[in-house]
Structures are given as structure tokens and as C-alpha cells.
Symmetry: C2
Subunit: 456 residues, 2 copies
């Protein structure tokens, strides 16, 4: 029995691979890889250079290659396959479940058709069908290899049937009870069948309150439903009412992990897509080009601050001390807005908040913005006095903080709701975008208050 | 068969409850709640006011009360229980699995002992034991109700045993093979037992390569391992080698969802703890007090910018135009830093990056910072010229952007790694903190470059 420490963090496993590769000790490396879990091999491979990765892959036992492939990030898997012939690719993909084969194949453009032709005919048809669903849909994640049973079967017959169908299904934990038209009428767990009196019919054992999704359902929604209802698999039902497949919970976990990684990236002002691949596998040029795009957009938005400041040039020249508070004021506004945006994005993601709650949310955030602004405004007023500012300037700063916090809080709650309303992922309207918008508007608020209260 | 739409989004379910409550139609409401899934009732209850919530709870059928309770957020569950007598609380907690009873009981301080005394003796002992583990540990999540089998049992005997033990275990999907000293020697799935030849012994069927955790393992690590190895449950092994329990995958999914919500909050500069409860259930006063704490900390850090600006007062007075670029420069630096922080936090969370990679990471981020800075610096130089700035000022701005981006990128990669090294959650060192730190240092960089290049 090994604990996770001995396996995942196998001290020096990575270094060992590198040094065996460098020394050309291919036989020793091949041996070393034999007893490792495919998920661990995949994790280490993602840390190697592209060349080392391909070398290592070729040293895996033929059976292990497919297993490791299914654990690798899609782009890395694609990169490795690109070094192989169409025949070899097809042979590997034939060993993968249809959903994983489809996922990897979707990254091929030019060679997709020839690879599909080289696949086992039945498998090719399955994969081709999955590829008709869009990328983040339930259809792409589902497997058609689920256990189909009939309502009139008795428990003991069912067990006999299962022994026969075993090889064809991905999981036997849940058995799906279908009527003559392949419509799902209930679900029964293997456990219930095993412990039931042998002559009992499935009709009497099955649970008829079953939640299902359609192939078009977004994968995030599937994840939310599985976590909401504690399912081990989610059935997928077509438009004609026929049951098409299931999405097993382990695929859903992968979705949750990927989506939460993507959310983190979006929060930092990065698109998910390409950058949501293992850190060391993304070429530096790709990173820079993807990051610069978003930074330039924010840069252009941020130039608005310059426009605002130039508009108030004479006021700033008259009281240089006004400029000392600029970063403090817009920084605080940005931080306040970022807090609200986070709260809203979390609430929307967990289904606690819906678009129809807009007024309830705005009322709540406007009020908390006022309260937060009052506290911070008083502190800012005191701090400005301590810095030796005159009372009118200190008052200007305090009032500006109050106004900016209230404004940032309100706009920070509104924008994610608007995004959700127009089916844009609210995480994309992330903290950097809000803070950039609050910067320019906050400055205008500050300098207008200064203009009035200082009589400039 | 109902689809998810009909159940979760049951149009007007919430409004219906509210109006039935208002009209005092308790019998009708009680009837309306009968056919709803407990998870759905819980979700709607979290949107009601505290008073409405308690009223609704009392209208649930006695059996449904425990089911709904286990779906509610911990604090909401506690709030509802607070309206009940100790005897009633104990009766409800007795119906919950031990891990959920422990979770809810952990929110009670004063009454914990009396409630424990009122519980069923055996259940109380289980719950008491779980409460000795710390809050985010594997021990808290585990159930001791797993299926224990012996290596010498034959497949058919095992099925007979399972029929007898059925009621005592939470899941039968995996059977845990223990030796005479209760040490885990292998795992076998119910599926394998069902399809195996009846006389086969479990010793020959079981998988001996099993990953396990200890009760002290952090729950996030458990989630990572379950998703890494695609397990349906994670065995928990004590220090003496005895198997203590299992953590089922549905608990892990709840952890993943909660942690990803907490990450989003941390990204916005909010502590998880209290605020990681359903949006409409958190009292406004709690929200404000929790938010103000962090904002004040950032405010104090941000006052450094004022200190820097006052230090360069004469330069700012000499060239007022210098101040026009302040928000643009520090905003861009903050955005660049936020991107790097996000990338690092995601990579650390997914195990793609480890602390030992510090030099590899810094080299990578320093280089990409230089590249990004060069692109943005050129754009900024051009923009400044277009705004009618003199060439030396435009050059100052361009150089400052280059320097600030490189600096922000490097520091943004270093700080999450340092946090991880000292076992602080890197997400806590979130975007707002980095941008605030980059603000002050960025200003100093800008004004020093200005001083030299403009000869001030």
C-alpha cells in the first residue's frame, strides 16, 4: 500500500527521467515507467520539454501509451500524436473511450478525416457523432457505453445480463431502465439489484425521479447539477426522448477543475482557451501574444484617465497636492469594485443569484457601498489631515472616497448581472476591467468634488 | 421523467412559497413542498428571509427536514436549528450521516455538549471523534460506514455478506479489503464481484495499487487526488495503518465547488470563511465589517503611493504633465501583475508548478515581462506623442512602462511561490494586494526615470 506522497511526489522522479533521457538509457527508463500510474506519468511529462516528452512517450509500453494519452492535456496529447503516422494515431485513439478520442481529435483540422477513416469503423462512427456537438456541451462529454436494462427484468436475471454486457459499458454503478422506445423510465443502482430479493422486478426497484440533461446542455450546467443532486453520472436525453448516453462523475470533476482554473485566469484578465493548458507546456510566444491583447485593451481604456486629468489640468496645476491622492483614491475604488464583482460572480456561478434579482442586489450593494464608503471616507479624511493637508482638501478626499466606494460597489454589482443577462461569462468582466473602468470615472468624481469644494 | 429545467428553475416556486407564507396557507405550502427534491428546497430557502426560512422548515415533513438540513449551507442550518429545542436538534442530527452532523455541530459552541449528550450514544461517539479533526481536514469529511471485506472471501460469499451489511454502509460501489489488523490491502468494485466467477476469492480480484490519505490531509489535497486518479471514494488510513473511513466523491465535489467559490472571493480581496455562504443569507453588517477590514489594509498599503508622490513633489510641480500618466502607468503595472499572479495560482492549484520550480518560473516570467513591456512601452510612447507630449516625456513614459511591466511580472510570480513555501494559500495573496504593492513601487520607478531623463 502506498500513500499519495510516495506516488505523486516521488522525490526525484522527474529528475530521474531527465537524466535517463540525457544518458540515452532508454531500456532503464522504459522499465522505470512501468510501475507508475498513468496520471502520474502524464503529470511529469507535462513538465518536460516537447522533445523529452515525445521521447518518453515512445518508451511507454503500448498499452500504457493510450492510458497516459487520456490523462494528458488536449494540446499536449495532440502534440505527441503529431509525431506519429495516421495508422499509429488511429491505433491509439481506438483504445480510448469515445469522448476522449473525440476531444483529442477535435484539435486536428487537416488530418481529421484521414484519421477518422483509419479508426475502427464502429468507433469512428461514435466519435464522428460526438464531434457534431459543440465543444463545451454535454454531448461531447458523454459516453454511450452505459448499462441498459428493462423494467420487467427480475433482479437475478439482471445480474446474469450484466455479466454478459460488462465489457461494453464504462460503469455499472447505475443501471438505466429503458422502455421499448429507448426512453429512460428510471434508474436503479447495482447495489439495489444485488441486495434485492432475486425475483423482484426492476420496475419495483427503480427510482423514477431522475434528472437528465440534453446533449446541448453546457458542461458547467452539468457539473452544477451533478454537484447539486449528488449523482454518480448524469443521463443525456435526446430531443426525441431517447436516452443517448451518460456523463460519469469523474469527467464532471475534470470539468470543475478546468473551469475553476479558467475562472482564476479570467480574474487576472486572461482568456481561458489556450492558456488553460499545463503551465510549462505553453510556448512563451503564445503566452505573450495572448496576454498583450488584453493588456492593450485595458491600456486603451486606462488612457481615459489621462483624458480626465488633462481636462482638469488647471486645477491640478493650482493645487499640486491634489495629485498625491490620485493613486490612493482610484486604488481604493478599484479594490471595492473588485470585491463586489467577486461576490457577484461567485453567487451567479453557484446559482444563489439570478438575473431577475437585479434590484434586490443593487439595493444591497448600494447600501453596503455607502456604509463602506463612510468608514473609509472618515479614515481618509483623518489620514489627509495627518499628512498636513488643509481641512478643505482633507474633506474633499473623504467625500471623494465616499462617493467612489458607493459608485464602484454599485457598478461592480451591475456589470456581472448585465453580462449574465447577455449570456457572457461574468468572470470575463473580471476585476481588471472593473478597476480600469472605475479608475477613470473615479478620477472625474474626485476632481469635480475638488473643483466645487475648493472653489477652483 | 422531468428535465432539470422543470425542477430547479420551477418558474415561480420561490414566489409561490412567499405568497403562501404571507397568506398563512400552511397546509397548502406543506403539500407544495412534498414533491420537491431536498436540494431544491434548500436552494429556495437560502433566498428567503430568516423568518420565512424557519417557517418553511417547520412545514416540511419530519423525514424531509433532515434531508433539507443536509443540503443547506452550514450557517443557515445552524440558524434554523437554533430555533429548536435540544431534543429536536438531536433528533434531526441523528438522521444525518456522521460527517454532516459533525459539520453542523461544529458551528455550535455553548450548546455543543448538551446536544452531543442528547444524540444516540453510538452516533454521538462517531461525531465526537470526527470533531477532533481540524476543520478542513480529510478526517472531517470521512464516513466510517464503508464496506469492509476480507481477502479470503469468495465472490458469491461476498454478495451474501453485502446483503447483510447493506444498511450500515454509505456506498457499496467499492469494497475495501482489510486484513486481520484492519489494514487496507486492496480495493475491489462491486461490479468486479458481480461479474466474477462465483468461487473466485477477492484476493485474486482486488486492485492492490490504492492511493489513500490520512485524516490530517487537507481537503483540497483530497479533491486534487480524487480528480487526478478518477476515484469514486478516497480511503482514509490512520497513523497505525488501520483504515478509518472513506471520503465519497460527492463530498469531494462539494469541496471543489466551495473552494472554487472561495478562490473567487479571495481574488477579489475577501476572506472565504464567513462570506462563503449563500449570498442573500449573509447579514449586511457582516458583509460590511468583513470587507472593510481588508479594504483598510489595502488603503494603508496604498498610502505609500502618497508618500512616494510627496517625495517627488518638486518634479511633479515642475512638470504637471507627469501626473497625467500616473493612473495609466500604475494601472498597466497592476494589470500585468494580476495576470501573472492568476497564472501562478492556477498552476500551483493544479499541481503543475511546485515551489522548487522557483528559478524556472522567474526566468520565464522575467522574460515574458520584458517582451510584454517592450510592446506596451512602444504603444505608450506613441500614445504620449499623440497627446502632444514632448519626446523626452514620451520616452520617459515608454521606458517606465517597460520597467514596470517587467517588475510587476517578476514580483507577481515570486509572491505566490513565497506564499506557497510558507504554507499560506497563494490565492490570499491575491490580485488586489499585488496591484497595491505594484502601485507604490511602480510610481517610484516612473518618477526616478523621469528625474534622470528629464534632468529634473
Amino acid at each position: 500500500m502506498r500513500t499519495q506522497k510516495e506516488i505523486i511526489y516521488a522525490e526525484g522522479f522527474e529528475e530521474e527521467i531527465r537524466s535517463l533521457l540525457k544518458g540515452g538509457q532508454t531500456a532503464a527508463l522504459s522499465e522505470r515507467l512501468k510501475n507508475q500510474h498513468p496520471a502520474d506519468i502524464a503529470q511529469v511529462m507535462e513538465r518536460l520539454s516537447a522533445k523529452e516528452r515525445i521521447q518518453t512517450f515512445h518508451l511507454l509500453a503500448p498499452g500504457a501509451q493510450a492510458e497516459v494519452l487520456s490523462e494528458l492535456g488536449t494540446r499536449v496529447a495532440r502534440q505527441i500524436l503529431s509525431s506519429l503516422s495516421v495508422g499509429e494515431i488511429a491505433q491509439l485513439l481506438d483504445q480510448l473511450p469515445m469522448d476522449e478520442a473525440a476531444q483529442i481529435l477535435s484539435t486536428f483540422r487537416r488530418r481529421r478525416t484521414v484519421i477518422l477513416q483509419a479508426l475502427n469503423a464502429e468507433h469512428a462512427e461514435d466519435v464522428r457523432r460526438l464531434l457534431t456537438y459543440s465543444e463545451h456541451s454535454a454531448g461531447r462529454l458523454m459516453t454511450e457505453q452505459f448499462a441498459r436494462v428493462r423494467p420487467e427484468w427480475r433482479a437475478n436475471e439482471t445480474l446474469t445480463h450484466l455479466r454478459r454486457m460488462n465489457a461494453d459499458v464504462e460503469t455499472l454503478n447505475n443501471l438505466y431502465v429503458l422502455d421499448d422506445e429507448e426512453r429512460l423510465v428510471g434508474v436503479v443502482s447495482l447495489r439495489e439489484v444485488v441486495i434485492a430479493p432475486p425475483r423482484k422486478r426492476l420496475r419495483e426497484l427503480m427510482n423514477t425521479r431522475v434528472i437528465s440533461v440534453t446533449p446541448e446542455t453546457d458542461r458547467e450546467e452539468v457539473a452544477r447539477l451533478i454537484s447539486h443532486y449528488d449523482y454518480l453520472a448524469m443521463p443525456v436525453i435526446g430531443a426525441d426522448g431517447r436516452m443517448l448516453g451518460i456523463i460519469p462523475v469523474d469527467d464532471v470533476i475534470d470539468v470543475l477543475v478546468a473551469e475553476s482554473g479558467e475562472d482564476i485566469l479570467k480574474f487576472g484578465g486572461l482568456e481561458g482557451g489556450v492558456l488553460d493548458q499545463p503551465y510549462f507546456t505553453i510556448p512563451l510566444g503564445t503566452v505573450v501574444s495572448r496576454r498583450v491583447g488584453w493588456l492593450l485593451l485595458l491600456f486603451v481604456a486606462e488612457t481615459l484617465t489621462g483624458t480626465v486629468l488633462r481636462f482638469f489640468e488647471s486645477e491640478l496645476a493650482a493645487v499640486v497636492a491634489l495629485s498625491f491622492f490620485i493613486p490612493l483614491l482610484i486604488g481604493t475604488g478599484g479594490n471595492t469594485g473588485a470585491q463586489t464583482v467577486s461576490t457577484l460572480i461567485r453567487g451567479l456561478a453557484l446559482g444563489e443569484i439570478e438575473v431577475k434579482d437585479v434590484w434586490r442586489v443593487i439595493r444591497r450593494e448600494l447600501l453596503s457601498g455607502l456604509l463602506i464608503g463612510t468608514v473609509l471616507g472618515i479614515v481618509a479624511f483623518g489620514r489627509a489631515l495627518l499628512w498636513g493637508s488643509a481641512v478643505p482638501l482633507a474633506l474633499t478626499v473623504g467625500l471623494a472616497i465616499l462617493a467612489i466606494c458607493t459608485w464602484a460597489n454599485t457598478i461592480g454589482s451591475l456589470i456581472p448581472l448585465i453580462a449574465q443577462r447577455f449570456k457572457i461569462d461574468p468572470a470575463t468582466v473580471s476585476a481588471p476591467l472593473i478597476t480600469t473602468l472605475v479608475d477613470a470615472t473615479g478620477l472625474a468624481i474626485y476632481l469635480m468634488i475638488a473643483k466645487v469644494s475648493l472653489g477652483l
